[in-house]
Symmetry: C2
Subunit: 580 residues, 2 copies
């Protein structure tokens, strides 16, 4: 292997992983890492928890120091050094020491761009006022930590992962927190009815959540702090506002160098993370990646994929990637903890499938316990599984709950990676002991429901059908009436809704217009049901309704199970809008 | 579908699952379940926790009652009814009501044997004395619970899953507990060096653990209770002794009926759980199953597989299994919690591979945190991964730790099911947030270490090589000297052991004969190493040693990493014997 001079621009996540891997593969290469900030390889995922005082010592955030890179890897690290220009012809970059202002040139054989992403600052009047922060770096978190010491009211703008983690940590520090989100839901990676669980949980933890809401203007408050004027008409007076509306690839350098960018604004790379220039690689938040399910380009600013891309780029530079063994794309597996709720997902959401024009999918909802009910402390996991109706291939899954959530999504992620189907989930042999699961694990159950559906044993109704039929008549009604009407289906119309729970459960809450026949009485009360009209069966979570569906099907009725039962009904009601 | 009369012998786990599934598939079939005991579908996995008062109410153990089977499924349940004989010619069974003593015949179209397993009672003198218990049923647990109220000293015989769960629950109830185990390790499903972690944990929790130890005789104690005379020469006086030495398939009925049994004493079934009689199926602890890795017959008394087999038998009876879609065999995925430690595994252990004559395997050890170190509360997970050296196929994995263990084993289990390799584990895209993992999840790390090994980038040394070289010289030495000698490698012999940890770490504990060169100084001290002899590098968990291995390899040394580092050394030392 000939010794190469490898220059890496950006020393966090992908860049750092690339540098370390390159050294392991080539002891004789020159490796230099340039970082504009003061820190390399810091734990940016930990910043909200540093603000929340969960992580107490700042030094903990330094995963690896320049000293460690030098001593252990003989990697030269230039912090507070900005890379200004790439001269592709001469294979030379120009860098500036931000301390001294001095500029110099550095030659390369291979250049790696790991420039990451920058926080979006929306063009809102007053956004540069003091007290308005973004959170990307250790100095940012230090600033916010200082503010939090004395603040009592904070505004978080944006209800994505970072915004919600930050909201939780501000509440932990005793602040009153408002979160405003322009979209109709929190966490855009989730489908709306799943996001509704998160919204409820935020509100239960005292967060003032405003969906469909924008900040239109910031002004200085008389007594200090800022006034945020919202699109709802409210003026909020807060000590501090945090902008968490997402990130954009930091492609200034790539654009200057004339590298090909994608439609989404990230750098285009091949399967070995090589850019349009064969001597330049790019990794991490700055690149566009292929989604393994949709095969579409995406921006996926996650640390795990950045790390893998960095390792791969190093191997590619050093000629160690076998043909066909390149980057397989991203699944978008992710997890986030918000108060007591873990939210995780893999693959594509339903809206993602729709956006990609994939319509041959089906979905199931379920709400099993994280472990058997007889062992104390079981918590429900709310799961949505999306799969291909033609062959049962897994397309995506979302799950939330207080325990055991990441485990189930990780299993489904592994299955998806291997090209698995719902039949594979049905058969999966997973850990079972009373504290850990059930003989039918939630993953098995998801697979079983979907597989029974595909086998024709278990027809499923979609909640949207229930809702859509009435959506057009309610547009000018008040919100409360509208909600009810959305769900109310005229008993004389095409489908009969049969609720097979107990009379007591039915009394507590039911879908307006539904008829109550407890499962135990169903066989003897068949004569009360019409054979002319389709029956939609509902219960608590879908299990009794499944048994009812099997009974009715075999007695010649046309029947579907409203997947996920009243728990899913509640979550859809929680979306406060007919369109899922 | 023609209505069939389906009789099911045994109403727990597999039998109950079969009955419910049969009803869902066939509304018109007659389905009768016979159970010798007083309860069907009870939570036998919960019994130790009922004894420990973790599960307080006995009714919680009744997952489904005869009433529920009747009302919801129209399944007739005959409890306290023993099936005496099968007349295969006439398709008729003879049953006896254990209350009235009355016998009657019942005709079947399909018969399902789910007779389970019975606890082994070893032929030890005095085993039938009062105060000596087995734990299989609710009445058993009721008895033991009563004993525990007043007892202060208990003996558990057998250190398998049940024995250790029981030991934990007895300690929880304030008893002094001794566990005796005939084998040289606890938990026979684990390899010995992994089981050593469990043994240490038991001892740390006050359990008096005696390995390589048998009870030779029970006698009545003068003041009540029993005296257990051990093979070690000790006499233990305890209030109660619990026999947990395993189970044996309950094949009395199958043998009477002349069905084919396997070499291990279980019923032989085909891929649809059909016995040698085409009208008789068998499921659960009573059958032998194929191991998916070794393709050998096994007895796997686990609830998850029993449940799947029950469902499959129902589908088979009703002609709903497509050809080729039969039982895929078992992986043996299992989990157990003992005090604060979770122990889980999937696939085959190293000794299982050896026993099956599979020698083209390799293994890696690692000890990553369950999540990033900078987030508080990270706990190590001790992992052993076994894989095929020819293609990297996953053969088995064992893991233990305080958190995140079942999740990693479940992911590996899913990968194994899908025919995955260590390269797939390396690439897996798993949930990462600071509380949940790391950008390189423990599963990724296991895959990376193994894949780097297979690619030739990361040669690994086996701890046995270190140990075996000296095993023959120590046989007649005292245990303490023997332990040291086992590990001590004469520095003048073939390999040099280089410990690349810091001087302080090295001082605290190191392998006798090892030379300390901290990783940071390695490049400048290469001249101290011989190029003639193989170098074995060691560090804390294997990561620094991996970097050292890469450095030394590229400088032309012959080098191997002692996989798992000092943590694995400690566990091997803990086995107290050279043979792994």
């Amino acid at each position: 292997m000939t010794a190469k001079r490898i220059l890496i621009v950006g020393g966090v996540a992908g860049g750092a992983a690339c540098a370390a891997r390159a050294r392991r593969l080539c002891e004789s290469c020159g490796i230099v890492m340039f970082e504009r900030g003061a820190y390399v390889s810091f734990a940016n995922c930990g910043l909200p928890y540093f603000i929340g005082d969960v992580i107490v010592e700042e030094e903990k955030l330094l995963v690896a120091t320049p000293q460690l890179f030098r001593d252990r890897f003989r990697i030269e690290v230039c912090t507070e050094t900005e890379v200004l220009r790439v001269d592709r012809e001469r294979k030379m970059i120009t860098v500036r020491n931000l301390g001294s202002g001095e500029e110099r040139e550095e030659p390369y054989d291979a250049l790696v761009l790991s420039t990451g992403a920058r926080a979006i600052r929306p063009p809102v009047e007053g956004i540069d006022l003091p007290g308005i922060h973004v959170l990307r770096t250790i100095p940012d978190s230090r600033d916010i930590r200082r503010v939090v010491e004395t603040a009592s009211r904070a505004l978080v703008i944006g209800a994505g992962y970072l915004g919600l983690e930050l909201a939780e940590n501000l509440v932990r520090r005793g602040l009153a927190v408002t979160v405003v989100e322009a979209a109709a839901q929190v966490m855009s990676t989730l489908d709306r009815e799943m996001a509704a669980f998160v919204a409820k949980h935020l509100e239960a933890n005292g967060v003032d959540l405003r969906l469909n809401c924008l900040v239109e203007r910031f002004t200085e408050a008389a007594g200090g702090g800022v006034i945020a004027s919202l699109s709802s008409g409210d003026d909020l007076v807060v000590d501090s506002a945090m902008i968490c509306v997402g990130v954009r690839p930091e492609t200034t350098l790539a654009a200057q160098a004339g590298l090909t960018l994608g439609r989404l604004g990230g750098i285009r790379v091949d399967e070995q993370m090589r850019t349009s220039d064969p001597a330049i690689w790019a990794v991490g938040d700055v690149v566009e990646v292929r989604n393994v399910v949709t095969d579409e380009w995406q921006l996926v600013p996650l640390a795990g994929p950045a790390n893998r891309q960095g390792r791969l780029a190093a191997a590619s530079i050093l000629g160690k990637v076998k043909s066909g063994a390149g980057y397989r794309g991203v699944q978008g597996t992710s997890v986030c903890r918000v108060f007591d709720l873990t939210i995780a997902g893999t693959g594509v959401s339903e809206k993602g499938l729709k956006a990609a024009g994939i319509d041959r999918y089906e979905k199931v909802y379920l709400h099993p316990g994280n472990h058997v009910g007889y062992y104390p402390g079981a918590k429900p996991i709310h799961i949505k599984l999306l799969y291909d109706v033609t062959d049962g291939a897994i397309l995506g899954a979302q799950a939330l709950g207080e325990a055991g959530v990441a485990r189930r999504i990780d299993v489904i992620s592994m299955a998806l990676q291997m090209g698995g189907t719902v039949y594979d989930l049905e058969e999966a042999e997973l850990c079972y002991a009373p504290q850990f699961g059930a003989t039918k694990d939630p993953v098995n159950l998801a697979g079983m429901i979907a597989a029974n559906h595909l086998r024709g044993d278990h027809p499923l109704a979609k909640w949207e059908e229930l809702v859509d039929a009435h959506a057009q008549v309610v547009d000018d009604q008040s919100e409360a009436t509208r909600l009810l009407s959305l769900i109310l289906r005229d008993p004389a119309s095409e489908a009969q809704i049969v609720d097979v729970r107990s009379a007591a459960e039915f009394e507590a809450k039911h879908i307006p217009g539904a008829k109550n026949i407890p499962l135990e009485r169903l066989r003897e009360r068949l004569s009360e049901l019409s054979r002319e009209r389709e029956i939609w069966v509902v219960c608590g979570v879908g299990l009794r309704a499944y048994n009812a569906t099997r009974i009715l099907l075999q007695h010649g009725f046309t029947v579907k199970n409203l997947s996920g039962g009243m728990q899913t009904y509640d979550s859809i009601e929680g979306t406060k809008s007919p369109k899922l």
